[in-house]
Amino acid sequence: MSRVFVAMSGGVDSSVAAALLAERGEDVVGVWMRLVPAGSQPDAPRCCGTDEAGEDARRAAGVLGIPFYALDYADVFGREVVGRFVDSYAGGETPNPCVSCNQHVKFEALMRDVVAKFGADRLATGHYARVEHGPRHRLLRAQDTAKDQSYALYMLGQRELARIEFPIGELPDKSMTRAIATRFGLPTAAKPDSMDICFIGGDYRTFVRERAPDAFAPGPVERADGTRIGEHGGIGTLTVGQRTGTGVATGERLYVLRLEPDRRAAVVGTREEISATTYQLRDVRFVADAPPAGRFRTEAVLRYRGTPLAGWVSVQADGATLELDTPALVAPGQAAVFYSGDEVIGGGVVSRIPAH
């Protein structure tokens, strides 16, 4: 019999994923990832990598009667997720830590251990997304599109998908997940959903400030023509696309058009000044391991739960260019994910360097 490991966070989704696989008669093993060092006080009360979450995961595994182990990934999480998060803000970008966690922690470090150390065949998680296994494995949006998390999984290639199961992605909606949890008597049935940035309890700015104080040095707020109209509290506090809270009394609604970390400047402008349609992407990945064509039409999603925007992707050796049909403000550091209907084709990270 083939063995499947389930990454159990202590939340309801991954508990139900384990329950569904166990019910199918699979040889299921629960594994919980420690993400913050033992005994340390986490910033976030609901971080899935804390002792308390580990207890919840262990109890859920106990109810299901499956083997359960806790493994330590605090080093890789600290480096690849928290470290990148802070560096990204400090560099004038807006990171997506879920993407880093999926890419470097869950589907790289954990996947490798599950397969290499424990001889398992597959890894399941509680993500809302679907994998269609076949000669070419496809990554699809979850049945419940309102909960869909396929955006943060675009980096998965054929090698990973061959070994991945997302049992929750097949469920019609979240109430079904909770109903299944109740049916199995899982103690996690009524647990609240996790928050956006799992490892930060309060304001992300406080978190970044403690780790990268330089990103909180004040700098000029300028219009596109170079006119200085005020001062901001640090580029770590700003995200491209956000309404500025600089209190400039021009009566205009101003948005952050771009950040220039080298001189700590924030360039702002009106909605009408948003003219960019072309973005350079780095770290580009394709689910099929290769692009469908050198240049192809796509619907690009540019932030988590964002609306798809139509455009073209042109693939280059060192990345790709995204040309949107209509201008849009995209924050560098965010993932640009290419969809074709409900299917994820691939994606990349929006670069601060203008497209060439």
Binding site: R3, V29, W32, M33, R34, P37, A38, D51, G54, R58, P67, Y69, A70, L71, D72, D75, V76, A109, R112, D113, A116, K117, F118, G119
Partner: protein
Amino acid sequence: MRRVYLDHAATTPVDPEVAEAMARVYRDVHGNASSIHAEGRAARALVDEARDQVAAAIGASPGEIVFTSGGTESDNLALRGVLKARRAERDGLVTVATEHHAVLDTAHDLAEHAHVRLTVLDVDRDGLIRPEAVAAAIDERTAIVSVMHANNEIGTVQPIAEIGALCRERGVTFHSDAVQSVGALDLDVRALPVDLLSLNAHKFYGPKGVGALYVRRGTRLATLQTGGGQEKGRRTGTENVAGIVGLGVAMRLAAARRASEAARLTALRERLIEGVLARVPDAVLTGHRTLRLPNSASFCFRGADGPSLVAALDLEGFAVSSGSACTSGDTQASAVLLALGLDEATAKGSLRLTLGRSTTREDIDALLDVLPAIVARVRGASAVTA
């Protein structure tokens, strides 16, 4: 799947005879051992009998046995009780870096909050403490020396007779945590100059949650708990009659089986140690090669991580533990292994295999069949992480 239990240092299965004796108490004896009436006297008689059994097994007199909730409480009572009793004249505590947390954390707590002068001695690479090092650490204000008999992680057996003798010469109370060794090694307090000895029923086929502290007559020991005055005031609280009965029976059985079991387990242990060192590349035996518990084999596999080894072996049907016995997914290297002078990468790859009454030669051979491949797999995966 057939399960092979090789984690007897963590705990042992309750002997059927022990379970039956305890079940009889729960069924038939409901009195409070302090009560005057017939029901109370029946309970008291059982507690007395257990006290006789424990005392007889270590050569003590029954009045020197104090029942507690287990090894941790016994260690706390010994250290805190002696330092509290002697505090007017002496305030020094000497112990060793490889002690169990029940001693070491208590010692640090006393140093931090009770103005106790603490000296923690280093061990050599085998985990041994030299008696001369203890002698050198003692001064005229040392109240107590605490050195464990046999180490829970590496099995090394300390020269407690020599250490006890030099403590006695200097008027220093000597405590030994014998939780791992009672039942496995010959311990007779008539010959051994030890004043206090901690023991714990579940390490020798008795129930969890009950233990004892041997307190040599004349040893000054203050009480820590206040209440109804049971155990001559040294450990107040209504007696856990069934647990105490279980401890007594387990102690009697252990004493009767000790000699033959020790010989049998030592032979199996040697087969295991030689097999692992021969079949697993770069395997390091931790602890002393010969001065170790008959049932304990412990290793480090550099480049592997202990918790993964334990999980992988569990999935193959083997219950074992890592030096840093832990379920919380924390891969910190064990302080005991670091105290031996092992580097962190080696110490993190620790594995402890502890044999017991049910262990057979087939069990050892079955483990030796799977271990090399598991270590190789875990090492291979870990190398990429590091």
